[in-house]
């Protein structure tokens, strides 16, 4: 269990994260949703000690996270940040092996190699194993990073928009793998996700953020509601039950018309300018 107690972060005048208190349950998938700039990434960085908060505490199973030795913490929580643009010539297997660094400090044991192999097969990366990461597509690279996080074998796994760059098949594959990690290994997964339908179908709990604050936090059935989502995203959203899943439909019927209007407006602006 992770408890956030009144966490705030201020950049200049702006309260990017404002007095957030949330509990993250163990052994569940918790999704963070909310519009761009809501403060999700900033919050995740503070919870995983990558960024210092201006006020508030993060308690990991009752202990203040900033007091824990960082090498011990690296066996407890892993985070995959939103952007990882590295142009280094490192092979897929080498990168995944870094996940074992907290355990072996670079001298890999037989057990480390087994765990690395397992992470590779979990993410179906066997065919890329010896390729350099700078030769892979964005989506393939994303899967390599997730494999590294799996190899780190921590109880808590934080993923900031892991579905970036991924096609539908691999997005679904990753969500299924995350569920499997929860089911088989009792991991706790915290994930920032943009597609609310992925959040609705694959998470246990959802935390919705807007303007640096938590709007609501609860089970997915508490959060996936028309009024709540419309308030957060400031658009019309309908929720349909399809095959037993709550699916949000947020395509405006009059979308084509409004796009036309928009283009027309733009054209006029240009003419005036």
């Amino acid at each position: 269990m992770i408890d956030l107690k009144s966490i705030s972060k201020i950049y200049g005048q702006k309260k990017v994260v404002n007095d957030v208190s949330v509990s993250i349950a163990k052994g569940k998938v918790t999704s963070f949703i909310g519009p761009n700039g809501a403060g999700k990434s900033t919050l995740l960085s503070m919870v995983t000690r990558l960024l210092d908060q201006d006020s508030g505490d993060v308690l990991l199973e009752g202990e203040n996270i900033l007091q824990a030795p960082s090498d011990k913490l690296a066996k407890k929580i892993a985070i995959l940040k939103q952007s990882n643009n590295l142009d280094l010539k490192i092979t897929v297997r080498e990168l995944i092996s870094f996940g074992r660094f907290p355990y072996s400090r670079g001298r890999l044991t037989q057990k480390d190699h087994e765990i690395i192999d397992e992470a590779i097969s979990y993410m179906e990366l066997e065919q890329f194993e010896e390729r350099y990461i700078d030769e892979l597509s964005g989506g393939q690279r994303q899967r390599v990073y997730i494999a590294m996080t799996i190899a780190q074998d921590t109880e808590y796994i934080f993923l900031d928009e892991p579905l970036n760059n991924l096609d539908m098949k691999h997005s679904v594959q990753i969500m299924q793998i995350l569920r499997r990690l929860v089911r088989e290994r009792n991991k706790t997964i915290i994930i920032v996700i943009h597609d609310i339908n992925f959040a609705s179908c694959y998470s246990d709990n959802i935390v919705a953020m807007k303007d640096g604050e938590v709007v609501i936090s609860g089970s997915k059935d508490d959060v996936i509601r028309k009024e709540i989502l419309e308030d957060i995203y400031e658009m019309d959203i309908n929720i349909e039950c399809i095959y037993g899943q709550q699916i949000c439909v947020y395509f405006d019927e009059h979308q084509d018309a409004s796009v036309d209007d928009f283009i027309e407006d733009q054209a006029q602006v240009q003419i005036r300018a």
Binding site: R49, D71, I79, G106, Q152
Partner: protein, 322 residues
């Protein structure tokens, strides 16, 4: 094809062969046949000059190349090296200041001072490249070279004022002909630093992936960066003091290895060391042969070959950006 040649065993054999050749090239003729009954004079030449020279080449070439590799990894910039960050110029200024202000002090004290100044200079360079967001990484070495030239001019000015041009110019350009036993032994100090560098290979690689990446894996990022920069400063100062400037060595060797063997220091750090030694040895032997019986100093040889390769790197970069 060439790929296959970049193997540690092949490289080491090549280095050994070149080292043996190096022992027999020089004004006083010593051929392998003479080995069994060396004259007194030949024995002296081997012990007092040829052997120290060969050892100095290996240590200087290897350790300076490793410095470049570490700097490139930690700054995540392929154009950074003891030359292009100005580290060498700071080391030279340090030695000059030490000679001016405490000429009677022990050589180690002077070295310590020069190392401290190179470290400070490198940190200054790091601050600049972090503060200023360059549109193109090519600007990074250019800024470093400019900074180095400013420092270098200060050194020249000071030495002109104090009439110590003579001693300064011997540090201007690397020169192994001045290496004789009794003067080069301080180079041995760089060996333990080199070994620390090898032991930290994994951690340098992780640190090169960024601060957040390192923190996530429980690596003390700042400490690893500081250790890396300390190693580079000390080794650079040692080489500048004993051999002189070897421009662009720390830039080109790691880049060549990176092309063929990638960027994981675990795989590349030893290769970089050996290739660096080979390169310097080759340049030195050629320098001894081209205008025999005179010598072209190693600094000049490497400067010409190195700046040529540096230009190719820049043009390749510009082309790939265009």
């Amino acid at each position: 094809m060439i790929h296959k040649l970049f193997r540690l065993d092949i490289m080491i054999i090549l280095l050994i062969v070149l080292s043996i050749i190096s022992m027999f090239v020089g004004v006083v003729e010593v051929s392998p046949r003479d080995l069994l009954n060396l004259s007194e004079n030949q024995k002296n030449i081997i012990i007092e000059s040829r052997f120290p020279r060969t050892v100095a080449i290996i240590i200087a070439g290897a350790s300076l190349s490793v410095c470049g590799l570490i700097m490139q990894q930690l700054t995540r910039n392929k154009f950074v090296s003891p030359t292009t960050a100005g580290t060498m110029d700071w080391a030279r200024l340090g030695i000059l200041l030490a000679l001016m202000f405490f000429p009677t002090a022990n050589l180690l004290v002077k070295l310590l001072f020069a190392s401290a100044l190179s470290l400070a200079g490198t940190l200054l360079f790091m601050q600049i490249i972090q503060r200023v967001q360059f549109k193109d990484v090519v600007f990074v070495p250019l800024i470093g070279l400019m900074l180095g030239n400013v420092v270098s001019s200060v050194a020249t000015f000071l030495s002109l004022r104090t009439n110590s041009v003579q001693s300064l110019s011997s540090w201007m350009q690397g020169d192994f002909s001045i290496i004789i036993s009794g003067r080069y032994e301080v180079l041995y100090i760089s060996i333990p630093f080199l070994i620390i560098g090898l032991l930290y290979a994994n951690q340098f690689t992780i640190a090169g992936m960024g601060e957040d990446f390192s923190k996530n894996l429980g690596l003390n990022y700042k400490r690893v960066i500081n250790i890396g920069l300390l190693i580079t400063a000390v080794i650079t100062a040692l080489v500048v003091v004993t051999v002189g400037m070897l421009p662009f060595l720390g830039l080109i060797i790691p880049n060549i290895i990176s092309i063929f063997r990638g960027d994981h220091l675990k795989n590349t750090i030893l290769l970089t060391a050996v290739l660096g030694a080979i390169f310097v040895m080759l340049c030195d032997i050629l320098g001894r042969l081209i205008i025999f019986p005179y010598e072209i100093s190693i600094g000049l040889m490497i400067g010409v070959v190195g700046s040529f390769i540096f230009l190719i790197m820049i043009f390749r970069r510009v082309k790939s950006n265009a």
